[in-house]
Symmetry: C2
Subunit: 330 residues, 2 copies
């Protein structure tokens, strides 16, 4: 136990969280957000128990109604499956939230008294490999502590959000009616990762055009084993939400029947490992650059006495030395 | 000398290029594009001789007329300064060009017989640290071989293009009249790096609105030591190009008078070194992952017998070992 940390061990917190203690679970999610050695200890604990939860990702432009739709789906899931559901709202643009609930999370407030619903915001810069590595770890933690279904909602549609959504088993991409929205979604790389497409706010004009655009772009991307269905919803009125539930269930059944769930997860495990490794290497490089021992090297570089390639070579050597010694990893 | 490479040493090519041999220069730019050990040898040669060239970056959305504007500026520079000018057209979306001239480079064709103009396309995926590290190296090479002024033109406005443009001394951001273009430029991070703003195709409607948008966005970004002037050009007719020349000259004088040129270059040298170091670490990680020795590790990861964090730890250890041994660096 390092000094200054609360005097509860990670494994004790894990035991409590698995027994239903929500505050322990929230603290462990903060551990995942922070990253570092505690988080690695936690990974070891969760990994053995995880593997059965199913993650559904929601992504789409801000204002498309993702939160409302995820909230409506949450209600539908609770009504039809009765299993516990966790919601992670992921916002890369925020600093670490420390567990604070985002403003628009109030839309899910009517679940606040439901013991089988757990809602939490996540944002982190500290984690090795960033959010795209932290989110799967958080999903494993939820999995291992009794949450078999996790909804992951991203706030924006940047590269990080796309990567985060792509770590989920079923990815729901939300667009709105109107010229251009489908094209924007395509440009942002959303259609590539979409398993289910939703045109939300479908009571507005332009639904047919958007649906046609989406179909065309899906056709352009070639024959797929799974053709993402295009659904129309008015999330604020609950319209089309039952169909969304069914579409996600169909996709899940498709993945399981074809053995694709396993192969997708295997692929994702590899990208996750690479992302974590890359994050650790970058962190080690940062530590090396900021080490007082390198002040002279940096001065020589900035005074034009050393070329950037040479300086890079020396930094890389030091990173290798530090990593071999285990220094920069903790 | 590795087998399969032309039997001319890098230093002999460098000597020839410094003596005015354009084919030798073109081959050395290919060396920079490819990266690797030859490129590092070249860095050592160019670094000592470089430091006096001035780089001007052009960036903006495709279709904004950047190429035409850069071509018009080239003509103006040749008329007024009479110094040799090199042009690098940077296209991250292309595979390595091997020196081929991009289609729209034909717009600069009337300089083809001018011995004091050198035009070259650049694209690379192979270079450690990518284009944002390769371009400054190419600029140093041009500098060391007698090209005191380098125009760098990016093709698109992605993250890489913004990074490439930011490595230049004066950054010219090109937008068009019309609602939204200025906002898009701001979103893409272009206004942050702009030293000179150009509304090209200023014979079209909406110029005043775009100028107002740009001014507003500049004001929002706070007080700056240098306020980017907002120019209006019709590059295809040569209108406003003399003013662009003057604005760039003013910016250069401002940087030199305040000592900012040195401090900016020092800052860029540091980011360049970090970028190269990061690129080498990533390359080493790739080599480790693809090493046959790690097949069992990857299988264990994909079969769910090893968690991604543990797998990452082992990969990082191996990278450190390989780098310490110098294996993955060559």
């Amino acid at each position: 136990m390092s000094p200054g940390r609360p005097a509860t061990s990670t494994s004790a917190l894990f035991k409590a969280a698995a027994g239903g203690d929500r505050r322990a679970l929230a603290r462990l999610l903060s551990v995942v957000e922070r990253g570092g050695s505690e988080s690695r200890e936690l990974s070891g604990l969760t990994f053995e128990r995880a593997g059965s939860a199913y993650a559904i990702g929601f992504t789409g432009a801000p204002g498309s109604g993702k939160s409302t739709l995820a909230g409506a789906l949450l209600t539908e899931v609770r009504r039809r499956l009765r299993c516990p559901v966790a919601v992670l709202a992921v916002d890369p643009s925020s600093p670490v939230t420390g567990g604070a609930i985002l403003g628009d999370r109030v839309r899910m407030q009517h679940h606040a008294l439901d013991d089988d619903v757990f809602i939490r915001s996540m944002a982190t810069r500290g984690h090795f490999g960033g959010l795209a590595a932290a989110v799967p770890e958080a999903v494993r933690l939820l999995d291992a502590t009794g949450w078999p279904l996790v909804l992951v909602e991203t706030v924006g549609v940047g590269q990080v959000e796309v990567e985060v959504a792509a770590t989920c088993d079923t990815v729901v991409v939300v667009v709105n009616p109107g010229w251009g929205d489908a094209v924007q979604a395509n440009k942002a790389g959303l259609l590539e990762i979409a398993d289910v497409l939703v045109i939300n706010k479908a009571d507005r004009p332009g639904v047919q055009e958007t649906a046609r655009d989406l179909r065309l772009m899906l056709q352009l991307s070639g024959t797929l084993e799974w053709t993402p269905p295009i659904l129309k919803t008015v999330a604020s009125a609950g319209e089309g939400v039952a169909e969304l539930f069914d579409a996600i269930a169909s996709h899940r059944a498709h993945l399981q029947a074809g053995g694709e769930l396993e192969s997708r997860r295997a692929e994702r495990a590899l990208s996750e490992a690479l992302r974590i490794a890359k994050g650790r290497l970058e962190r080690a490089l940062d530590a090396t650059v900021n080490s007082p021992a390198n002040a002279a090297l940096l001065t020589a570089l900035q005074d034009n006495r050393l070329d950037p390639g040479q300086a890079a070579g020396r930094l890389v050597e030091q990173v290798a030395g530090d990593l071999a010694g285990g220094g920069a990893l903790s």
